[in-house]
Symmetry: C2
Subunit: 471 residues, 2 copies
């Protein structure tokens, strides 16, 4: 083996090693690799940085940006060329992206945006500060600018914003052979990747779709109209959550997007839907916990702002529940053990209510709960609430009797548990249904209401019964 | 217009009308349509049922089964042919599917399973009762049976179970033209839909992939090896959550699945991933609320079983917190207002802890939180907890002073709030990290621990401080 091949092998081995080092077994970035990048940035070692970045997929570079400190991130930006920027910009979290956009020169940015798909490009332009946006738009070719402006006219989180304008369409009367020849003649005109060819009528309305793999199945003479399949059209103004629901339900790979007149204006592909599904379920999870998304890289103040409003609402409801307890102050002074037992009733009721509410919110989101089975669902929940209440009342009542040898205390406690579990089930099922009916997002505010109901009921039922039976 | 065309138009209009009636604006089944089906079932009107079912997409028939009562569902089954069954079986929820499978004759079932993709077929066979499974498997052709048995040998929720065995592979030395000719010669051998052609070496190890749309971009003489792109291989035993993460991160449309020896054994496509993402985030949401998934059609007892265990655990922790209060019985007897205020400290701390915990669990799930930024994240959460605690301490302390004119009470309350918010932030961030580190699912049990910490701390800090300062 000659000296040169030897060297080449070494270089290739080194590259291979870097790629292996970059990610750990579950495809997350290795902390050591991130430290290596940070060290290279500190030393200003451009050569080493080039090597390290070359070992990463653009999605991993985006991840890396998330793990670096703000200073390191800023220093990394000049080392990214427009092609890499084009690939990572749509992967970055909003806050990090805004930070990155601020530090990239407008000319580089215009070049990077030109390389992106229309939906991603519009998102990036939308994120720019007004001054910079004007600069970047001015540096872009006329056609690209117009395309982005059109996309930005659609509302956020609609099909129009989610779609890419790049589609492959063919007239009804073409044959498979004509279509393939046309594509081969002008491959630059084709989107980078596509799964369906939309067959359109003379008014450019989609009448069907031919999966690309379908072209390989039949002879060149076959008319497209003969092998096309019906399409599920999506209108530009449909909410992205609805779009995701349709894709999931009908297992769509791609769908044509049409304007109000029914004309083909773009397409949505299933890979964009995975992101939407993640985003929507993330929103639900956070909303149920009373957090708005402050973003991964939000500062302390950003996070405080995202959480304090909900805590203030909870303070109000907690104060209301406390006033119930205050009304029974006399009883508590006489029998202080009531104070120790009452939070148990309230907290277990709260847990039961949260269980019901979470299941109801999820069932509403996946359309499993509707007007048709609402009554059946609510009744079933109330039955479950009663059974759980009775079981726990017997267990806890028994333990209380064992400890305090006071049957009336056990009975008051057990009865309050049953009442609170019943109310928890009722509130947990009805409140999300009512919010949905009123056109509100049931994930967002149900928790506060349900917890208030179970706290209030828990304190009132237990202290009230104790006052009646015991004192 | 002749009388006959007139009739035909009427029939077509009627069909169109039924389709319009079936779904409401947001693609959910219309309650009236479901009632129509239930009525037709009650009357035994097979003709009307055929019409109604013909207006539905298989996914909507599956939905319909979910909305029907168990009796109606059973009556509907004989009206479904094997082709329809093949399309709806993989759409049904587990409990409903088990019910349906029980009522379909084994021969029909064997035929339906033969029409399904290998992953869906295996899932259905896996759901069958032992006796029935033997019958159905015996009624299937040898090859199909072997394929299903192989799939079932992979663990649940692994890539092996998720993949379909139907793939399109081509040797490295083929040209685009050779590949297309080969596909056209034997279209029956091709999967119904495919997006990538995997290029394999003589040992059947994937060396690259050519997107089908790539074949239309270049001339027939181009070698596949020249236009192929690198692939992200997935090994058969990878967990489906990891698979979904990889698809989402790298925006994959399909990926080759390889066995331990690296040989191509199947592929996973992104449309299967949408389902996995839904499933995994559903699991997280429910786990955070302390519910295991009982399924949409579970009976009351099934639901009770899915919720009671968590309530029992919560009873234990609530009892522990109650014992803290019990220790301060003397103080409460002297100053009963303490009993009214202490749940406010505990409950607001609980809310703050839930916020932190939910954000941490999501960040862990999306790999945004790792060993690399754990310290930074926990510190940030503690800072947020302190700020929120101080803000709320000032507000609530102020209100308490306004109402009771007791500065020492206000100070005890405010100080307890700050302490509890600090502990809430610490527990909410550290507990999920610790569970993840121990290889446990942080979504499943974090809530119980965190709520226990905030209840315990809330009661202890407030009553303890009150005892020190006030009494």
């Amino acid at each position: 083996m000659s000296r040169e091949t030897d060297d080449l092998t070494d270089v290739m081995d080194a590259e291979e090693d870097l790629e292996d080092l970059a990610l750990d077994d579950d495809y997350a970035l290795n902390p050591e690799f991130v430290s290596d990048v940070a060290d290279a940035l500190d030393r200003g070692d451009a050569e080493r940085l080039r090597e390290l970045l070359a070992a990463l997929h653009p999605a991993d570079i985006a991840d890396l940006m998330g793990f670096l400190s703000a200073d390191d991130r800023e220093e990394l930006i000049p080392h990214l060329d427009p092609e890499t920027l084009a690939e990572i910009l749509s992967e970055l979290d909003t806050e990090i992206r805004e930070d990155v956009l601020e530090h990239v020169p407008s000319a580089t940015l215009a070049k990077a945006i030109g390389e992106m798909e229309s939906d991603d490009a519009a998102d990036v332009v939308d994120d720019l500060e007004d001054d910079k946006r004007a600069e970047v738009m001015a540096a872009m070719p006329e056609l690209e600018r117009a395309a982005i402006e059109t996309t930005l006219r659609y509302g956020e989180e609609t099909a129009g914003r989610l779609m890419q304008r790049e589609v492959v369409a063919a007239p009804q009367f073409w044959t498979v052979g004509q279509a393939i020849d046309h594509f081969r003649k002008d491959p630059e005109e084709l989107p980078e990747l596509f799964f369906d060819i939309y067959v359109v009528d003379p008014a450019f309305k989609p009448v069907g779709a031919v999966p690309v793999s379908g072209l390989l199945r039949v002879g060149r003479q076959t008319p497209l109209a003969q092998i096309m399949e019906p399409v599920t059209e999506i209108t530009v103004d449909l909410d992205q959550e609805e779009v995701a629901y349709i894709f999931d339900k009908y297992h769509l790979i791609s769908a044509p997007v049409v304007d109000v007149a029914g004309r083909l204006v773009g397409q949505i592909t299933v890979d964009d839907i995975v992101g939407v599904v993640q985003e929507e379920s993330e929103e639900d999870i956070l909303a149920l916990a009373g957090v708005s998304d402050a973003g991964r890289d939000a500062g302390v103040i950003g996070i405080v702002r995202s959480r304090l409003p909900w805590l203030l609402v909870n303070t109000l409801t907690a104060a209301l529940s406390a006033s119930v307890i205050g009304a029974f102050e006399g009883q508590i002074a006489k029998l202080a053990i009531l104070a120790a037992l009452m939070p148990v009733v309230a907290s277990l009721g709260g847990n039961a209510g949260t269980q019901t509410l979470t299941v109801a919110v999820r069932a509403l989101a996946s359309r499993e709960l509707s007007a048709f089975n609402a009554v059946r669902t609510v009744s079933r929940e109330m039955a479950v609430g009663l059974i759980n209440g009775v079981v726990l009342a017997i267990i806890t009542g028994g333990v209380i009797f064992g400890v305090f040898h006071d049957l009336r205390l056990s009975v008051a406690f057990g009865a309050a548990m049953i009442i609170n579990f019943f109310m928890a089930a009722l509130a947990g099922a009805v409140i999300p249904l009512a919010l949905e009916r009123m056109g509100r997002d049931p994930a967002v505010s149900s928790s506060v209401f349900v917890t208030f109901v179970t706290d209030f009921t828990g304190f009132f039922a237990f202290l009230g019964l104790a006052a009646l039976i015991l004192l």
